[in-house]
């Protein structure tokens, strides 16, 4: 490992990989470090992604696509189902990835473009001189060394320790951290072209339970509930085990993963002198779905682009890196994050009865478009009696 790079990326998830890939493509010397012994394993994810989001970065490849999804089903507490069909144009229903291979592909792209990659290598301390970040002390298989960089990109995911060591608060409020458990289940009867979402206080209070097809007879079956809802006997794992016993008693669990998914607002500022924060570390996860792969890639690419300009201009101060923060907030992604945060706040307050009523009102519609906006507009149109409550939702759409 060299001791000096233009860009040092901490974390080899989709965000970090795209950041290193973009930096290398822009002609910068880039170093990507990942603390785990292997890229993409174990990955804490249900692996769903919108087609457009994905194809903005790379062409889909059967090696890392587990399922091509044609519809989504939302199952209300009383069993009412809302079917969302894929529209041929502009659909947001997408793929279920195999992230073990997908994450590796992204890192491979980064190294192919010229980035250095090191696994089992973690950042242990920032190098800060005169208040300016100059890289990190890293530990690689027990050996410590300094890696200096003009810009350091923190892509260290939900733990988000690096930015914290640099003095930026990244702690997630406990009620806004989704505690997740997921099993990869085989030998079960599922619809191999559907992603299913189960709602309700009995199933997943203030969260949801998912069954994402991973092939003809296997699925990612997982759950996320706010950490504050975890109680002895009623932890995320207990809810999931009860669902499994009821729906897939004979399924074989061949993998179990656990994780945290931050559904809070993004951190207040995602840059400081010499530092940029991307992906889950910046908390740019969709607050409704908990999806963050696409947003991690978007912020990774933008961060590296802005870093390249700043480095070319010889100024990597907070002010010079600020266009990254400003741009992603103003982008469609940034606006959707804010809107969906408000929509999420509305839905978590709903009782099961109200949720059933709303689901019932739209159960028989074939949505041409699987989008939060289409769903919300239809709910507002069809529930005149709940207009007062839905006002909050209507306001959310204005932004």
């Amino acid at each position: 490992m060299k001791s000096e790079y233009d860009v040092l990326v901490i974390g080899g998830g989709p965000g970090g990989a795209v950041a290193a890939w973009t930096a290398a493509r822009k002609g910068l010397s880039a170093c990507l470090i990942e603390k785990r012994p292997a890229i993409g394993a174990p990955v804490r994810c249900a692996e769903g992604i919108g087609k457009k989001l994905l194809t903005d970065f790379l062409e889909p490849d059967p090696r890392w696509i587990s399922a091509d999804i044609k519809r989504a089903r939302i199952v209300a507490p009383d069993g009412t189902q809302i079917q969302l069909k894929e529209d041929l144009a502009g659909a947001e229903v997408g793929y279920v990835l195999d992230r073990k291979f997908f994450d590796r592909e992204l890192v491979w792209k980064a190294s192919e473009a010229g980035a250095d990659v090191f696994v089992k290598t973690r950042a242990v301390e920032p190098i800060i001189e005169d208040g300016i970040l100059k890289g990190a002390v890293v530990e690689s298989c027990g050996r410590r060394q300094e890696v200096r960089a003009q810009v350091t990109i923190a892509a260290d995911g939900v733990e988000s320790k690096f930015a914290r060591w640099c003095g930026i608060e990244t702690a997630v409020p406990v009620q806004e951290l989704m505690s997740c458990v997921q099993y990869l289940v085989t030998d079960i009867d599922i619809d191999p072209a559907s992603n299913d979402f189960y709602l309700g206080n009995e199933v997943a209070p203030q969260g949801y339970l998912w069954v994402f097809a991973k092939g003809e007879r296997s699925a990612n079956v997982g759950i996320g509930i706010p950490a504050s809802k975890n109680m002895p006997g009623n932890r995320a794992k207990d809810y999931l085990d009860r669902f499994m016993a009821e729906h897939f008693p004979d399924g074989k669990i061949i993998e179990c993963i656990f994780g945290g998914d931050p559904v809070c607002r993004p951190i207040d500022c995602t840059v400081s002198d010499g530092l940029m924060i991307i992906g889950d570390a910046a908390r740019v996860v969709d607050p409704i779905t908990g999806g963050g792969i696409g947003n991690a890639m978007i912020t990774g690419r933008l961060a590296a682009e802005v870093a390249a300009k700043a480095i070319a201009a010889g100024d990597t101060s907070k002010a010079a890196l600020m266009p990254y923060d400003v741009e992603w907030r103003a982008s469609k992604m940034g606006q959707n994050l804010e809107r969906n945060y408000k929509v999420k706040e509305f839905f978590i307050k709903l009782s099961d009865e109200k949720m059933n009523d709303l689901a019932d009102s739209i159960a028989n519609i074939d949505f041409a478009e699987f989008s939060v906006k289409a769903l919300v507009l239809e709910l507002i149109k069809r529930n005149p009696k709940m207009l007062f409550e839905l006002r909050e939702l209507k306001d959310a759409l204005k932004h």
Binding site: E159, K161, T170, V172, L177, V181, A227, N230, R235, F258
Partner: protein
């Protein structure tokens, strides 16, 4: 003090991200708590989807 039940922990990092003191860290799939920094507030015990953390009174 904070007790980590390692036989249950899945090394996922959920607790790390809610600790207000930054006292928890995942090192090589091994969860560590800095007992100097930990204030025994119990917030991390809530985040764990598995129930692997507990604050116990010192003996």
């Amino acid at each position: 003090m904070l007790n980590i039940r390692r036989e249950i922990c899945g090394y996922c990092g959920a607790c790390v991200s809610v600790c207000p003191e930054g006292a928890l860290e995942l090192i090589d799939a091994y969860l560590t708590v800095d007992s100097e920094t930990c204030i025994n507030c119990g917030i991390c015990t809530k985040a764990c989807p598995l129930g692997a953390l507990e604050v116990i009174n010192e003996v």
